[in-house]
Amino acid sequence: MSQQGANNGSSRTAVKLLLVVVGMFGFGFALVPMYQVFCEVTGFNGFVSTEAATAPLEEIDTDRRVTVEFVSTVNQSHPWRFQAQERRMEVQPGRLYTAYFEIENLRGEQSVTQIIPSVAPGTAGRHFQKTECFCFTEQTFAAGEMQRMPVTFYIDPALSDRTSTVTLSYTLFDLTAGDAPEFDEDATSLHVGAR
């Protein structure tokens, strides 16, 4: 191979590999919609719809009982009271139920929240149908306001026989509280006093 030939070949190889680099950088971003579509289609990873479902059409499976548990969390320990009125319910697949959550704004100012649902086990996510939910839209709370908010849902009878308990978990994000708390040098060395 002549020197000239090797140089041309090397440049061509380099350009091709550079295209691979650009392509893979794009692929990293393409993974984002691919991931969402994959989770939506397969129901993996607890995909939960944030749009209202239509009322149940199927027969009510009166022979079957599924336990639904409710979990409520406030992200980053912002001052909110957020809890389910009932911790758990026994439900029949196909029948509509309503559960209530109490949300109280303990901050001294008006706040906007977004509440994000998640279902465990993940594969039960698309069988948990909500016809009405406070999680579909952002909610505004005046300072100190308390609201009792409903979620109306049914369990799709197509839920796997292996699943007897479904956990619905809500996380409250305070959109007006700003980003992560300011870094606090003292807080990190709190425990050092123990030495």
Partner: protein, 525 residues
């Protein structure tokens, strides 16, 4: 071979003098040396961080540093060792060795080569500066999981841009290596005649080109989540923090093979030399390396069994991961068959290579245990994982770099290293690395979590043993440093072939190899 000797009458062939030689050099041997010296410095920087970790864990309780600094040390130790020590060490070896192993006069893209190297000190300046910023260095683990990493203080953009720069550097280095191997081989050097180190690096280069941009994309998403209001990983905005783990490990698993495939190439060069037999199963070695590289793209989920993956996902990633053991087993058995009935001698490079085979296998087997989804839920984020990846990366990858340095140092310097000191380095390192990491298996199985500065009292004895092993291992690396310095400064003159059983183009060159080699390509039979 007359074409291989240095033509003294060409004046411009002598290296320029002074600092500009190193700043502006496009010579593959100079850049190889720069890469390796940089890697050695980073090895000691990362090692010092490991020493702080082991001192803190020497006794239960918070004894030396505060927890936040401890977390900075675990995170920075990983980043420095992976991106600062191991990857540059392998790239340095590739720069020095690949042209002389395939009979090329230099790398294909020498200027890019220079740039790729000089990005490294820039990237590490950014990364190490974070230790002095308000809020400290990254402390959320080298995996940079959100939302924790987004709570990092002023160091956050430094971390992201350091990762970008280091990624660009390794991508440029890899494009150069692949272009060299594919276009610059001497006549007659067909692909299936290349030394396995060259093969391993060709495949590694493709892995780097394929996955480093994905990491760059992932950290870019972190950056825009933090500063530009996107919600890739922010649940409040409809994103998903688990998705970061998928994207990260899509990069991260090939990355661990990037750190080990060149090691396979090195060991495949050293064992045949000292067994005085050709490598057993050359072509199966090539195919095994390629298979491992392919499998690396479909096993990332085994890092995430505990995120709540559905059964089908767990089974897929479990079986795919266990498949990796097949081509890896092929390699182990090929090395054993190469040694079988060979006339073996045990110089330091061979000792490190044999230790590599044994200790890497231990790390590989604990890897198979971790691949089992049902038991991984217990092992996840415990010291069992720490023991596993240190067996494959320290007594695996780093031992292979030690072996390579001892093996080729006489060719680089023209002097033999001090064999007695080399053996001291080997035995101290090999014994202490086991004292250091073997007890960590038991700690992990008993439930000690990783990345925590304190632990329950029942873990005290094993942690103390482990720390003592760590201190001995750390100190014995000073012997390594001394061996290199001593060898550079002088010593018994090395012959051209250096080792009795050494085969390959680099051993036809004089020792030390002249500044320019194979300007007229050798003919390979």
């Amino acid at each position: 071979m007359s074409s291989t000797t240095h033509d003294a009458h060409h004046d411009h062939h002598a290296p320029p003098k002074g600092i500009t030689r190193w700043l502006f050099t496009t010579n593959h041997k100079d850049l190889g040396i720069l890469y390796m010296v940089f890697a050695l410095i980073m090895f000691f920087v990362g090692g010092a961080m490991a020493m702080i970790i082991r001192v803190e864990l020497f006794q239960p309780g918070l004894t030396l540093v505060d927890p936040h600094f401890f977390n900075q040390m675990t995170t920075m130790h990983a980043l420095v060792m992976i991106f600062g020590a191991l990857m540059p060490a392998f790239t340095g070896l590739a720069n020095w060795l690949i042209p002389v192993q395939i009979g090329a006069p230099d790398m294909a893209l020498p200027r890019i080569n220079n740039w790729a190297f000089w990005l490294l000190p820039a990237g590490f300046t950014l990364l190490l500066l974070t230790l002095f910023l308000p809020g400290g260095a990254p402390a959320g683990g080298w995996t940079m999981y959100p939302p924790l990493i987004l709570q990092l203080g002023d160091a956050f953009p430094f971390l992201i841009f350091a990762v970008h720069i280091l990624g660009i550097s390794s991508i440029m280095g890899s494009i150069n290596i692949a272009a060299t191997i594919l276009n610059m081989r001497a006549p007659g050097m067909t692909l299936m005649k290349m030394p396995l180190f060259v093969w391993a690096w060709l495949i590694t280069a493709f892995l780097i080109v394929a996955v480093m941009p994905v990491l760059a994309g992932a950290v870019t998403m972190l950056l825009t989540d933090q500063y530009f209001g996107t919600s890739f990983f922010n649940a409040a905005g409809g994103g998903d923090p688990v998705m970061f783990q998928h994207i990260f490990w899509f990069f991260g698993h090939p990355e661990v093979y990037i750190l080990i495939l060149p090691a396979f190439g090195i060991v495949s060069a050293i064992i045949p030399t000292f067994a005085r037999k050709p490598l057993f199963g050359y072509s199966s070695m090539v195919y095994a390396t390629a298979s491992i590289a392919f499998l690396s793209f479909i096993v990332w989920g085994h890092h995430m069994f505990s995120v709540g993956m559905p059964l089908a996902g767990q089974l897929f990633f479990m079986y795919a991961t266990m498949l990796v053991a097949v081509p890896t087993g092929v390699k182990i058995f090929n090395w054993m068959a190469t040694m079988w009935q060979g006339s073996m001698t045990f110089e330091t490079p061979m000792l490190f290579a044999i230790a590599f085979v044994i200790l890497f296998t231990i790390g590989g087997l604990s890897g198979v245990m971790l691949a089992l989804a049902p038991v991984d839920l217990q092992y996840h984020d415990t010291y069992f994982v720490v023991a596993h990846f240190h067996y494959v990366l320290v007594s695996g990858a780093i031992f292979s770099v030690f072996a390579a340095v001892y093996f080729w140092l006489p060719k680089w310097t023209g002097n033999m290293y001090d064999e007695r000191l080399g053996k001291w380095h080997f035995w101290l390192s090999t014994i202490s690395v086991n004292v250091l990491f073997f007890p960590q298996h038991f700690l992990g199985l008993a439930g000690m979590p990783r990345r925590i500065p304190d632990y329950a009292l029942q873990f005290a004895e094993f942690n103390m043993i482990s720390s003592i092993g760590g201190f001995v291992f750390g100190l014995s690396q000073l012997i390594f440093l001394w061996v290199i310095i001593k060898c550079v400064r002088g010593g018994e003159k090395a012959s051209d072939q250096v080792w009795e059983g050494a085969k390959g183009l680099e051993w036809t060159l004089p020792s030390p190899a002249p500044y320019h080699t194979f300007e007229r390509p050798p003919v390979v039979k």
